[in-house]
């Protein structure tokens, strides 16, 4: 597999110019995530109004995959109902971790997250892509325990 399939331009772009980056002035959900293998650290801030994700921002110090994944995640779930955001996480995790082939339906459903499916070929990097999602999910659960990929 070509490295360009992992490091697509859109990923390089989100890594260099992450969207919704930084700590918001206020938020009502927050969680930290950490991947001890590579030292990725991410914090996700969420504000929910009427079961809809009103604000989602993040701070991260990590590899291109984890930063780009966090950035794209915020774009995808902002303004979405909670249930839809959670379903998107389940779907994304399922696609990047499952053994069976990915079809055109999957790609269409994943929308811009499809740029990340190259991690399927790099088992060591799947956790980098899923860490922001786990952290977002923990923020919604308001879990006080730091999230770890281990």
């Amino acid at each position: 597999m070509d490295l360009r399939e992992l490091y697509q331009d859109v990923i390089i772009d989100h890594n260099k110019n992450p969207r919704n980056f930084g700590r918001p002035e206020t938020c009502d959900h927050e969680a930290k995530g950490n991947n001890p293998l590579c030292g990725d650290k991410v914090t996700v801030y969420v504000t929910v109004v009427d079961n809809v994700i009103e604000i989602v921002q993040f701070e991260a110090r990590g590899c291109a995959i984890s930063v780009a994944s966090a950035s794209m995640m915020t774009e995808m779930i902002k303004g979405k109902p909670l249930a839809e955001a959670r379903a998107m996480f389940d779907d994304f995790r399922d696609v990047v971790t499952r053994k069976s082939d990915v079809g055109p339906d999957d790609l269409e459903r994943l929308d811009k997250l499809a740029a990340l499916i190259g991690v399927r070929e790099f088992p060591m990097r799947v956790k980098c892509a899923t860490l922001p999602w786990h952290t977002m999910s923990a923020a919604l659960d308001q879990s006080d325990d730091p999230v770890t990929t281990e």
Partner: protein, 413 residues
């Protein structure tokens, strides 16, 4: 095998290591630059392990039968090789352990557990591997001893004045790495041991990264304890050596109980075997110890001085080539270094660098190298580390540099 005379024939040495002929992914030649994590094995080591299981295997120190005697002779032969390799006075000062980690835990638990008390001080340096930090933290917690940490300067060199200031009447143990795994810094352990002894402290030297690169003589160093792992010395994993001065080892209680380490056992009480068996409870890693003996033969057959000269030349070349890349920031530039280069590529996370290098066939380590305090000292989460061994070549340095250019290409300006 190379003789100790004549030019250093790296291609002939490479032919001794079957795995180095591998190709990875799409026909990329394997460029193995992760020797600091674990070194590859020469045929001599692989064959010695096969030979043990095929021809000379049984449990050791027990049976009266032929195979048991053969295996015992081979294992004790390996102990003698390790003794000679480290310049130890007696074979009974060579304890076979699983690796340096177990060796340090053994000393921390047995020596520290019986001799440390509240307020006693253990002096470490900021560049220790986690395995020379955590065992001391565990014993400090149990005994009330206190850990003091000597700092390093911006090149990664130990600041000797600051180290000396930490020594005092409460210093009981000075545990220091011989060569930093994350930075490559060679520590002046001769001076450290002298200073520690002046204050009546006992010393433990972590020699994991030192023994593959330089000749070590524990008596010349006057080290009290010295540990290393076999797998970094081109030997098997799961075997290593703890050297200890016999008077210290004799005075220490056993670390683990079981077979082999006893003299007599009764429910009223048991008595311990003599050294080294007092510290070798249970059936040891017999083939591993024998394989380590073969690795020592292999390395000494080439000669540590010649290996050191070859690696030093590679280190200089790699340092020079990496400095040609503007966005490379070298981490660890001490004047005296083993062949380890740690670096950052500006703006690109080491994990991404590692993945791209890997797909080009170049194996390096990325991460915190089990030395998080070092990462904190240089304010980085992780680094890329290329660590060279006796079989690496200038061409492989060039391959590393070419792959780094590829990383820059993918990540753009």
């Amino acid at each position: 095998m190379n003789s100790t005379n004549g030019a250093y024939d790296v291609e002939r040495i490479r032919a001794d290591f079957p795995i180095l002929a591998s190709t990875v992914y799409d026909d990329h030649k394997l460029v193995y630059l992760d020797n600091g994590a674990s070194a590859q094995k020469p045929k001599a080591v692989i064959e010695s392990i096969s030979h043990t299981y095929e021809a000379e295997y049984a449990n050791v120190h027990r049976g009266v039968h032929y195979m048991s005697q053969k295996a015992t002779e081979a294992m004790e032969g390996a102990r003698e090789k390790a003794r000679d390799f480290l310049g130890a006075a007696e074979e009974r000062e060579i304890i076979f352990v699983r690796g340096a980690t177990e060796g340090i835990n053994l000393v921390a638990s047995s020596w520290g557990g019986s001799l440390l008390g509240p307020g006693d001080e253990i002096v470490l340096t900021v560049m220790e591997h986690h395995s020379n930090i955590v065992p001391w933290q565990l014993i400090a917690e149990r005994t009330g001893a206190v850990i003091r940490v000597a700092p390093i300067d911006d090149t990664g060199d130990l600041i000797m004045d600051e180290f000396e200031k930490l020594l005092g009447p409460r210093t009981k143990m000075v545990a220091v790495t011989h060569v930093s795994n994350a930075l490559g810094t060679v520590v002046d352990v001769t001076a450290i041991i002298r200073m520690a002894h002046d204050h009546g402290a006992v010393t433990l030297i972590d020699g994991c990264q030192a023994v593959p690169h330089m000749a070590v003589d524990v008596q010349a160093l006057d080290a009290d304890f010295y540990v290393f792992s076999g797998h970094k010395l081109y030997g098997p994993s799961g075997i290593g050596v703890l050297y200890g001065k016999s008077d210290l080892l004799d005075a220490m209680p056993p670390y683990q109980g079981g077979g082999e380490m006893i003299n007599t056992v009764s429910f009223e009480g048991s008595t311990w075997a003599e050294l080294p068996f007092k510290f070798e409870a249970g059936t040891p890693h017999i083939a591993g110890a024998i394989g380590l003996g073969a690795a020592i033969d292999y390395v000494t057959g080439i000669g540590l001085e010649r290996i050191a000269a070859h690696e030093s030349e590679l280190l200089n070349y790699a340092t020079q080539r990496l400095r040609e890349i503007n966005s490379v920031r070298l981490i660890g530039t001490a004047p005296d270094k083993a062949a380890i280069v740690s670096f950052e590529l500006d703006g690109i996370h080491p994990h991404d660098v590692g993945t791209i290098l890997d797909r080009e066939g170049v194996a390096v380590r990325t991460g915190h190298h089990c030395a998080q305090p070092v990462m904190d000292r240089f304010d980085v989460a992780a680094t890329v580390r290329a660590s060279f061994g006796l079989y690496n070549t200038r061409d492989e340095v060039d391959a590393l540099v070419a792959s780094l250019r590829r990383v820059q290409e993918i990540f753009g300006p």
